[in-house]
């Protein structure tokens, strides 16, 4: 027996100005099943809520409709009030009389008529509501961190430090990411490797962290608390359990001219290689594209050299399934390929390099041993031009955004150059200097004032190579209001920061949104900058937007805190809006199973007492179901229903509008 209470809010004058609230309450009082109807100036106020609580208790209400503002505003408020009075909160519904009615209409009679309809629709619905209870899903207290750069490492270490297990997946053979390639870091100019490698080692040796390098996420099932992630462990062709990392193999490898990714193509590596000497794990993999044995079928020099017999050319990719409760995406960034800029040589000039290449030239572990020598002829460049905003803030190439880190690293580059080539000229072309960070502005000043880096405000319109090998840089000094031509020996472009390749695919696997530039979308730009729309998936580092190291580390720690917060409880409470299958009438056509965006509908075998298969039906995994109802509408025989939006409820809502 329905005993419904209706509560019409005036919202001060917000509703009452356009809607005759008393008339709505009077009309509601006559609706079938309604035993109590009242209107009040502010239902959300304490006295208003008290009215509701009191009516629930005194009239023994089995359901309530509050005609007020949008449920997005106050549904939690009123449901809490209902619960306090002993009514299951899901037995209270709201009719949106403000946003959907009084605020958008002027004609009082028409608005009142509409308000009565909206209330009646919800009365009909609420009569068919059932008490619902939050669904509790056990949480697998293991986190997956995707990406082994500084953000991923930091997140993994923080989670592991919080006592929870972490699986750290890295696409390349070593963790460390871009930070491992940097020579020094701004604004302190401390050695990047010196501060990073201890972290790398700690991550590798931490008992709570399982490192999976040379691996990629292949498939994702499940949902927050219970992800099932399939990880492809790419074939390394080296049995790391046997390998000691001695280096005999790569010393013997005849394929020696492969451009080193780590050295930004300025150096070479072998086909069996470790990316850099401090790599973690410090063990080699065979690059199957360049290995002579794997491509041509003969060689095997490394295998002969290996005394441990660790080389295995028959190695194959392996798919590993892991169960995790939360995910941190820390896939990082790449530099934009400036070959799209024809005016800067379209990538054809060897001495027009990008920031990473300069980092490797400046790095003591780099191909030049830390001496600044230009790629084309190994000469020390006497004049180096640095150009900022290469691609960034240029809508012509589809990048409207600021890459944020370039101002700082260009200043750093200028300094490093000046420190190494004291008599050289470092000229920076810039649009603006954005140095909003602790010690950042001071750093820029130091570059200019102490180290004599020359800053020219203006854009470079063209770079061309003169026959003597000089790079002629033509630009404008907009402050001086004149054209500038510089004869440079080397040009360093501050290419735009772009998300890592393959990021979209990964986002789709996890159900994470991304913007037009490919950066992952946070759940809310201000209030939920670490979360994503996919529950249980968090973001860290430059995959979300260009970030420098401190920001990446900060966000990584924030993501770790979110993960630890999630893992602090053994169970997750979920909205009980889930689908259910009527197994008596299900005929197992599997349309729902194939349609579910979450893989939440599964085959379920009904067996008799002796264990014989009677038939197979669809069954909804409540832990995975998010309550979209797609399966319900797909089911031809109406065998699935969605709690909170049942067929009966919707039917009655539509029917009462006749």
């Amino acid at each position: 027996m329905a005993r419904i209470g209706v509560f019409i809010c005036h919202c001060g004058e917000n509703i009452a100005r356009t809607v005759d609230c008393a008339a709505v309450a009077a009309a509601a009082a006559k609706m079938p099943g309604v035993v109590h109807s009242a209107d009040y100036k502010y239902m959300c106020s304490d006295p208003g809520q008290q009215m509701i609580r009191q009516a629930i208790a005194e009239k023994k209400l089995t359901g309530a409709v509050v005609g007020a503002c949008s449920p997005r505003m106050h549904e939690p408020t009123f449901r809490r009030a209902a619960a306090e009075a002993g009514l299951n909160p899901y037995l209270l519904e709201m009719a949106n009389l403000r946003e959907h009615c009084s605020w958008v209409h002027e004609d009082r009679a028409a608005a009142t008529a509409k308000a009565i309809d909206l209330v009646r629709v919800m009365v009909e619905k609420v009569k068919r509501n059932r008490s619902l209870y939050p669904i509790r899903v056990p949480i697998e207290p293991t986190a997956l961190v995707v990406g082994g750069g500084i953000a991923g490492i930091q997140a993994a270490l923080d989670i592991a430090g919080g006592g929870k297990k972490v699986i750290l997946v890295e696409r390349g053979p070593s963790i460390g990411g871009h930070m491992a390639r940097l020579s020094e870091t701004f604004p302190t100019l401390d050695c990047s490797q010196c501060i990073l490698t201890p972290r790398m080692v700690e991550a590798a040796s931490h008992p709570n962290i399982t490192l999976m390098t040379y691996s990629e996420v292949e498939a994702v099932e499940g949902f927050v608390g219970n992800f099932q992630v399939t990880i492809r462990r790419k074939a390394k062709y080296v049995d790391w359990s046997k390998c000691t990392g001695c280096g005999d193999c790569w010393a013997k490898c005849p394929a020696r001219k492969i451009p080193s990714e780590f050295d930004a193509r300025l150096g070479a590596r072998t086909a069996i290689y470790r990316p850099f000497p401090q790599a973690v794990p410090n063990k080699p993999v065979i690059d199957r594209e360049h290995c002579i044995m794997l491509t041509k079928g003969k060689c095997g020099a490394c295998a002969k050299a290996c005394q441990r017999g660790a080389v295995n050319f028959k190695d194959q990719d392996e798919l590993v399934k892991v169960k995790v409760g939360a995910v941190v995406l820390a896939t990082g960034f790449d530099l934009w390929d400036h070959s799209a800029y024809g005016e800067y040589g379209a990538g054809k000039f060897a001495d027009v390099i990008d920031g990473f290449q300069f980092e490797r030239l400046a790095s003591a572990s780099g191909p030049t041993g830390g001496e600044i020598r230009r790629p084309s002829d190994g000469q020390v460049p006497r004049t180096v031009v640095f150009i900022q905003c290469c691609g960034s803030r240029d809508e012509k190439v589809g990048k409207a955004y600021c890459s944020k880190i370039c101002c700082m690293y260009t200043a750093k580059h200028g300094m490093l150059y000046k420190h190494k080539v004291h008599d050289g000229r470092a000229i920076v072309f810039y649009m603006d200097i954005r140095a909003a960070g602790k010690g950042y502005e001071e750093f820029i000043r130091r570059a200019v004032e102490a180290d004599g880096v020359e800053y020219v405000r203006g854009r470079v319109s063209r770079i061309y190579r003169r026959t003597d090998g000089k790079l002629i840089v033509r630009g404008a000094d907009t402050l001086a209001g004149r054209a500038v031509t510089v004869e440079a020996d080397m040009v360093v472009l501050a290419d735009a920061v772009v998300p890592r390749s393959g990021g979209e695919k990964l986002a789709q696997l996890f159900g994470v949104g991304y913007d037009t530039d490919g950066f992952y979308s946070e759940a809310h730009p201000k209030l939920r900058p670490v979360e994503t729309a996919a529950a249980g998936v968090f973001l860290a580092g430059a995959c979300q937007s260009p970030k420098d190291i401190p920001d990446s580390v900060a966000q990584a720690s924030a993501a770790a805190a979110k993960v630890l917060g999630l893992f602090a409880r053994p169970e997750l409470e979920r909205e009980p809006v889930v689908a259910r299958v009527n197994e008596n009438t299900c005929v197992h056509c599997r349309a729902c199973i194939q349609a579910c965006p979450y893989g939440a509908v599964e085959d379920h075998e009904i067996r008799d007492r002796k264990g014989h298969l009677v038939r197979t039906v669809a069954r909804v995994n409540e832990g995975l179901c998010q309550g979209c109802g797609t399966c319900v509408a797909i089911c031809r025989s109406g065998c699935i229903d969605l709690e909170g939006f049942t067929d009966e409820q919707v039917f009655s809502e539509i029917a009462t509008l006749e």
């Binding site: 946003e99 009615c101 958008v104 629709v121 797609t630 509408a633 939006f645 509008l657």
Partner: protein
Amino acid sequence: MAQTETKTAEAAAAFQPRIVAFVCNWCTYAGADLAGTSRLRYPPNVRIIKLPCTGRIDPLFILKAFEGGADAVLVSGCHPGDCHYTSGNYHARRRWALFRRLLDLTGIDERRLFFSWVSAAEGQKFADLVADITEKVRAAGPLEPANPARRRL
């Protein structure tokens, strides 16, 4: 003659279309909320029924609305790629692509059945949409007496 025309015009003006809207909770419902908070104006002819997602909307809902005498039905949800449930709206889009053909063939044509994507940020679009379809349905006139789905007992 002139008199008839006046009458028709009056009838058209007096005709208040009954429009039932099935909208998703995350985008269009919120878009309609935004229209409200922005104090935009639109005609009071639409009755919104909220569903979690356009994926939940069964063609039966639409038939039921027409059976009950609706002059038009609006179905609206998140833009492609924006679905709160990742793909409910893609499923819905296929369903409607076929269902509208069926209804059109049986006499409930495109002046009676509207589909739209309205995001939570598109309050203006929602207001414009409702105003526009109300006008269109008003111009098309009542679905009765030719409503093939109408209950007559």
